[in-house]
C-alpha cells in the first residue's frame, strides 16, 4: 500500500517539472490517487482540520491533488517539524513550554492541510514517542490539545499508520476523564474514534483498556460538539462484531435518557451521530433492542423521519427503526399494533422514504416494510391498503436491482399468511390477485432472469404462488404471457441445483402435456 502513496513517486524531483515525463507521472499519480482517494473516503475515520476551540485552517485551500513538488516539500517540512519538536521536548530551560507548544502547533498545521497529510514522513521522523511524551500528566492544556490533534490526524489514514498509535492509547483514554478540560477530552475522543474505526483488533484493545465508560459519560455532557464527537467515537467503538460493547453501553447510567433527549431535541448534526449509536445498539445487542423498544425511541425516530430532509440524518434513523423491527418480534406484535397511531405513523414515514430520490432510503424502507409485512394478517392488510403498494409496484418495474429485490420481499409477504406450525403458509388470494392484476408478475419474472441466486429464488417462489393461487387456473396462462416459461427454462443449464429443481419442478407441474387442454 505504501507504494501507492504520492510520496513514493517523488524519487526524481528534478525531472518532474518539465515535459511529457512529468505529465505522464502526474497521470499515473491521478490513477493511484483515485484508488487511494476512494479508499480514504469510505473509511470510518475523520481528519480534524478545525480544533475544538475553532482554530485551524479553512478547509478546501489545499484541495488539489498533491503534485510531486508540493508533496516533497510537505514531507521535508514535516520531518524538520518533528526535529524541532524533538529538541523542544529535550529542552529544559526558560520558555520550554511555549517552545513545545509552538513546535506541536507547527506539526499539527502540516498534518491538517491536504487531503493526504504527510503522515508517513512524520512517523519516519519519530513523531509518536515525542507525542506520547507530550501527553504526560500535568502538561498544560494547550500542549495536550495539540498533541492529541496531531495523533488524531496520524490515525486518520492507512491501517498501519493508525496502528502506530498503540503506545499513545492509555494516555489518550486517561485524558477523557472529568478532570480534563473539555476541548482536550474532545480531541482525545476524536483520536480514539479514528483508532476504533480501524478494525476489530484495535477496538478490542481499546475496550480492554477501558475506553468505553469515559466516552459514554462524555455523551451525558451539555456541550454539543463534545456529545457529537463522543457519539461518533462510540459508534466506531461498539460496532462489533462482538455485541458485548453495545450491551455494556446501553447499561451506562443515564445513557438511554441522553440518547432519547438528543433524538428528541438536538440539531440534525448531533442527532445524526446519536442515531448511529442507536443503529449499532439495535443491530448488535438484543438487550439494547429490548430496552429501546420499551422506551419512546420508536416514536422519536418516526418523528425525525417525518420532519427531516437531511439524508445524513435519515439514513441512521431509518436503519435504527429497521433494526428495531427486525431484531425483535415484540416490536411488531406489541408496539406497532395495526390501528394504533404509532403504526400509522411508521407506515407514513416509510412511504415518505419510498418517495425519496435516494437509493439507500428506498432500499432500506422496503426492507422495513417487508418485515412488518411478515407480521400478522392485520399488518399485511394495513400495508396492502396503504399508499405504499402503488409506489412499490412502480419501483418493482423501474428501480435499480437492489431496491427491486427488497420490494419483491414486501409484495410477496403480503400474499401469504403468517407461517404456522405446519410450514406451508396459505395464500391471501385477494392480495395476490390484485397485485398480479396491477402488473407485478413481470417484475418477478425479471428477477428470475437475474444472475443473483436470492433474487431468482424469490422470483420462482412468487411464480409458484401465481401458478397455484390464481383463481380459475389463470396462473399458467398469465405466466406464459409474461415469458415466464422461457425464464424458467434457462435454468436447465444453470449451475445452481436448487434453482434448477425449482424451475424444472414448476415447468413439469404446470406446463406439462396437459397444459391448456381443459379450457
Amino acid at each position: 500500500m505504501a507504494d501507492d502513496s504520492p510520496a513514493s513517486h517523488r524519487r526524481d524531483p528534478i525531472k518532474s517539472s518539465v515535459g511529457s515525463v512529468a505529465a505522464q507521472r502526474r497521470r499515473q499519480n491521478a490513477v493511484t490517487v483515485g484508488k487511494e482517494r476512494r479508499e480514504s473516503l469510505v473509511r470510518a475515520k475523520r481528519l480534524c482540520r478545525v480544533g475544538p476551540s475553532g482554530d485551524g485552517d479553512v478547509p478546501g485551500e489545499e484541495n488539489d491533488m498533491v503534485t510531486d513538488e508540493k508533496g516533497f516539500l510537505l514531507d521535508a517540512q514535516t520531518s524538520s517539524a518533528v526535529e524541532d519538536l524533538k529538541s523542544a521536548v529535550a529542552y529544559q530551560g526558560k520558555g520550554a513550554m511555549q517552545k513545545r507548544v509552538n513546535a506541536l502547533r507547527e506539526l499539527r498545521r502540516l498534518l491538517s492541510k491536504s487531503e493526504f497529510p504527510p503522515v508517513e514522513a512524520a512517523l519516519k521522523a519519530g513523531a509518536i514517542p515525542l507525542l506520547v511524551q507530550c501527553l504526560s500528566f500535568g502538561s498544560p492544556d494547550e500542549q495536550l490539545l495539540e498533541a492529541a490533534w496531531c495523533l488524531t490526524n496520524i490515525a486518520a489514514g492507512k491501517p498501519e499508520e493508525t496502528k502506530a498509535l498503540l503506545p499513545a492509547l492509555p494516555l489518550l483514554i486517561a485524558h477523557l476523564g472529568e478532570r480534563s478540560s473539555l476541548p482536550v477530552a474532545e480531541q482525545c475522543a476524536w483520536a480514539l474514534g479514528n483508532v476504533a474505526g480501524e478494525g476489530e483488533e484495535l477496538r478490542n484493545v481499546l475496550l480492554s483498556q477501558g475506553a468505553l465508560p469515559p466516552l459514554a459519560r462524555m455523551m451525558l455532557r451539555n456541550k454539543g460538539s463534545t456529545v457529537r464527537t463522543a457519539a461518533w467515537a462510540l459508534s466506531n467503538l461498539i460496532k462489533g462484531p462482538d455485541p458485548k460493547a453495545a450491551t455494556e453501553l446501553i447499561k451506562v447510567d443515564g445513557l438511554l435518557d441522553a440518547i432519547l433527549r438528543h433524538l428528541r431535541k438536538s440539531d440534525e448534526e448531533l442527532a445524526t451521530e446519536v442515531a448511529w449509536v442507536v443503529v449499532y445498539l439495535s443491530a448488535l445487542s438484543n438487550f439494547a433492542t429490548g430496552v429501546l423498544v420499551k422506551s419512546d425511541a420508536i416514536l422519536l425516530l418516526v418523528e425525525r423521519l417525518a420532519t427531516s430532509n437531511s439524508l445524513q440524518l435519515l439514513i441512521p434513523v431509518l436503519r435504527s427503526l429497521g433494526n428495531l423491527v427486525a431484531g425483535d418480534s415484540h416490536t411488531t406484535s406489541t408496539v406497532l399494533i395495526p390501528g394504533h397511531e404509532i403504526t400509522d405513523g411508521v407506515i407514513k414515514v416509510l412511504v415518505k422514504c419510498l418517495k425519496s430520490d435516494h437509493r439507500v432510503l428506498k432500499k432500506e424502507a422496503s426492507w422495513v416494510l417487508s418485515n412488518i409485512a411478515a407480521g400478522s394478517i392485520e399488518h399485511k392488510q394495513l400495508i396492502y391498503s396503504s399508499e405504499a403498494v402503488p409506489l412499490l409496484l412502480r419501483l418493482l418495474s423501474t428501480a435499480p436491482f437492489d431496491i427491486r429485490k427488497e420490494v419483491a420481499y414486501v409484495l410477496g409477504n403480503l400474499c401469504v399468511t403468517p407461517t404456522g406450525g405446519d410450514g406451508k403458509p396459505n395464500l391471501i388470494e385477494e392480495h395476490l390477485v390484485s397485485l398480479v392484476q396491477r402488473g407485478c408478475l413481470s417484475g418477478f419474472i425479471d428477477l428470475v432472469r437475474s444472475a443473483d441466486v436470492e433474487a431468482a429464488r424469490l422470483g420462482l417462489q412468487f411464480m409458484e404462488l401465481v401458478l397455484r393461487g390464481m383463481p380459475n387456473g389463470d396462473g399458467p396462462k398469465l405466466v406464459e404471457q409474461e415469458d415466464g416459461i422461457d425464464a424458467m427454462e434457462r435454468y436447465q443449464f444453470h449451475e445452481n441445483e436448487d434453482l434448477r429443481n425449482m424451475a424444472n419442478g414448476l415447468v413439469d407441474k404446470y406446463f406439462g402435456e396437459n397444459y391448456g387442454i381443459d379450457e
Binding site: 478546501g60 439514513i315 437475474s450 402435456e513
Partner: protein
Amino acid sequence: MAMVVDYKHDSSFPYWTSIRRRFAPDSPFFSSGNIERELLAKQVALDFTEDERNQLEKMIDTDARGVFCPIVGCGARLTLLEDFEDHYNTRHTASCSVCSRVYPTSRLLSIHVSEAHDSFFQAKVARGYAMYECLVEGCDLKFKNYKGRQQHLVDKHKFPTSFEFFKKAHPSKKQRLKNQRKRAVNKKDEEVSSKMEVENEMMEGLVSAVSKLSTSDSSPSTVSFGRRNARGLTFVPRSVQPPLQKK
C-alpha cells in the same frame, strides 16, 4: 433445502414464507448506506462536484456487485449484475436455424442439430454406433441411445431426472388435443426404440417453428462445426427425425 429426486410430487418446493430478516451491521446489505455516511461526512470538507460523486459511487458499486455467470461451464465475470441479461443474450442463446430451439453454448447447439436434424446421424445410430455424446464438456462418453445418455447424465453428473435435452417445443392447443386423444387410444410401450420414425405432429410443430427463424448465434466458439454460422435458410437434409420422447 432438501435434495429431492422427483419433483413431480412437489413435496419439497420451498414455498414462499414471510419471515423477518435481520442483518448484522457489517452485512453487505448495509454497505451502500455506510459508504453514503462516510461520503456525506467528508463532503463538506472536500467539496465534491456532482460528477466526482457519481464517479465515486460507480467505482464502489462495481467492486461490490460483480458476479460470475451462472450458466454451467461459462464462468465469465460480469462487472455489474445488470450486465447479465446482455451477456446471456450474446453468449448463451445459440439458436437452431431449423427449429429455433435455443441452447446456452454452441457446442450444445451443434449436438442438438446432429441429433435432431441430421439423418446421417440417425443412420449411424440405427447401425448401432454410439452417437449420443455426454453433454458435459470433457466427459467424452458416448451412448447408443438418447435414454442411455440421459441416464448417464443423471447418474454420473447429477442432472435432475426431469431434465430433457431435447425438450418438446410447446405444441399448439389443437395439437395437444390430438396428442391426448392419440395417447388414450394407443397404449404403447413406453420404451424408446432405436428405430426412428418421423412423427407428423413434430413435423407440424417444426414447420411452424421454422417461420420464426433466428439468425442469432454469436456465441464464442472454441469448437467449430461449420453449422455455427447458420444464417437464413440453411436447411439440413429433409428427413427430420427427432428421437421419440416419452417421459
